[in-house]
């Protein structure tokens, strides 16, 4: 039970501590300043969907929290993680009517296609004239549409794409492989234990139970290890160095009893292992990140301050 709690706490820690004052990413159109109608929103969303797998998000901001839009823009983009991870092909089209600022924030990966000069052209010849007339909704819609047009003009997405896309599945594969590896390791240990004479004396049922307990317990430790490091690709040696002391510490009681009395009954240990079995099952998938679901969320892209901005 205590291990279960520790495991939960460790996993929970990975999800706290990122509370900044940015608006929530509610979809491809985030209308925080309430300048769009429902119809305009859904129309614009459809336009922005066309450019998948690139991620273009249109945002109207109620407030910039006292910052300039250049400072706010890239931080917001990073916070949401717009664009695919490692490709960084996200674009934010921002308008802040109250501060009278607007900006096109371009992720690293699209800076070749949507150059500063092009962004600046969209900002100055499309968005600013509309915004000056007070048509903030049109400024945002036309600006975002123009961005989509520029991106579409690039017929073949650059060659880097194909190679990079493999990035995240590769990580998952490494995770699966290492999981299998530890599973095999567990089985190996189980077989070694099978040879143990104290073990041979225990009943068949107990032997099977212990075998599974052994495997599941290792996968649980591996879960915690993954949760702490936040990655499935930690090095094997470090893992072993975690595993061995933990195994020793956890089994210290049993080892002590075993040292005192070599005939220490096996049954007892199996019974005490009951709670371990339960805790190991679900947690593992947490390291794989979220998948599926119809809702829109950032792919983990980053921004480096590319793009153009304007005041109106």
């Amino acid at each position: 039970m205590i291990k279960k709690i520790i495991c939960f706490v460790l996993i929970a820690f990975c999800f706290v501590g990122r509370g900044e004052c940015f608006p929530a990413l509610t979809g491809r159109v985030v209308d925080n300043a309430h300048i769009l109608t429902q119809q305009q929103k859904s129309d614009l969303t459809k336009v922005l969907e066309q450019i998948e797998p690139h991620q273009v998000v249109a945002v109207s901001l109620d407030s910039l929290d006292g910052q300039e839009i250049e400072d706010y823009g890239y931080q917001l983009g990073r916070h949401w993680g717009i664009g695919r991870k490692d490709i960084n092909d996200g674009v934010l089209v921002l308008i802040a009517p109250n501060e009278r600022q607007l900006r096109i924030e371009v992720g690293y990966g699209l800076e070749d296609v949507l150059t500063d000069a092009q962004s600046s052209k969209i900002v100055n010849s499309v968005m600013i004239p509309l915004a000056r007339d007070g048509k903030y909704d049109e400024a945002l819609i036309q600006g975002a549409t123009a961005v989509v047009h520029v991106l579409k003009g690039e017929t073949n997405f650059y060659s880097g794409d194909v190679a990079n896309i493999e990035g995240s599945p590769a990580l998952a594969i490494v995770g699966v492989i290492s999981f299998v590896l530890f599973f095999v390791l567990g089985i190996g240990l189980g077989i070694v234990q099978n040879k143990c004479k104290y073990y041979k004396r225990s009943s068949r049922q107990n032997r099977i139970l212990f075998f599974y307990e052994n495997v599941l317990f290792q996968s649980m430790i591996y879960n915690i290890y993954v949760a702490i490091l936040g990655t499935a690709t930690g090095s094997f040696s470090i893992y072993l160095m975690v595993l061995i002391p933990v195994l020793l510490l956890v089994n210290l009681g049993n080892i002590r009893r075993w040292i005192k009395n070599p005939r220490f009954p096996y049954k007892e240990q199996v019974a005490s292992g009951g709670s371990r079995r339960g805790s190991s099952g679900g947690g593992h998938s947490s390291s794989w990140g979220h998948s599926g679901g119809s809702s829109f969320h950032g792919g983990g892209g980053s921004f480096g301050g590319g793009g153009a901005s304007g005041r109106f």
Partner: protein
């Protein structure tokens, strides 16, 4: 015999835990160090981008603003001076080198800033497509420089905090030669970003 075994087990666990702690500390410091180097490379990258823009910009301005030779020469000189001082990631712990490097970059920034103010007087130049494109690229580059610098400052802050903290400090001193890295004031950024106004 029994007692010996027990002690041995406990001793092994303690040693294994200590070794593990040292390893993980060193690994995390190395990770932070690499992050500093990467963000410094990004800063250099963006400064390089600015160097690359200047010849084109100067050539374009020269064609229109014939009376601004002094300003243009200042920009070219500042660029030449800045390109001469390089600061590789291995030299990041050198406070003085960083100071000189930043002084030169700031001089270039203010020369460019001055140029951009001066060109406001030439309506023909400001209508030139090529110049507008260069101007927006320069603005974008200055913004990228600001972001890269902030990222560098942030990663150095993490690194310096980490290697000055108590157990880490000892471990780093014992097993590696890493030193705190040089950084610069964030205030400089605000002074150096040129205010490039768009034609209305």
């Amino acid at each position: 015999m029994n007692k010996n075994k027990k002690i041995l087990v406990i001793l092994a666990s303690v040693i294994a835990l200590c070794v593990l702690a040292v390893f993980s500390t060193l690994n995390s410091v190395v990770g932070l160090d690499e992050k500093c180097n990467a963000s410094w490379s990004q800063v250099l990258n963006q400064y390089q981008r600015r160097y690359d823009l200047i010849p084109n910009l100067v050539a374009t301005v020269q064609g229109y603003a014939t009376h601004e030779q002094d300003t243009l020469i200042q920009v070219v000189d500042a660029r030449n001076k800045a390109t001469q001082t390089t600061l590789s990631p291995e030299m990041l712990d050198d406070e003085n080198a960083m100071k000189v490097f930043m002084q030169n970059q700031n001089a270039l920034s203010s020369a460019l800033n001055h140029l951009m103010v001066v060109v406001e007087r030439y309506p023909d130049l400001k209508a030139n497509e090529n110049f507008l494109s260069l101007q927006s690229q320069l603005e974008g580059t200055e913004n990228r420089i600001a972001v890269a610098r902030k990222d560098y400052i942030d990663s150095v802050r993490l690194f310096n905090t980490k290697i000055r903290m108590i157990p880490t400090k000892w471990i780093v001193a014992a097993f590696s030669e890493m030193k705190p890295k040089a950084t610069f004031d964030i205030e400089e950024i605000k002074q150096e970003v040129p205010v490039v106004k768009f034609s209305r």
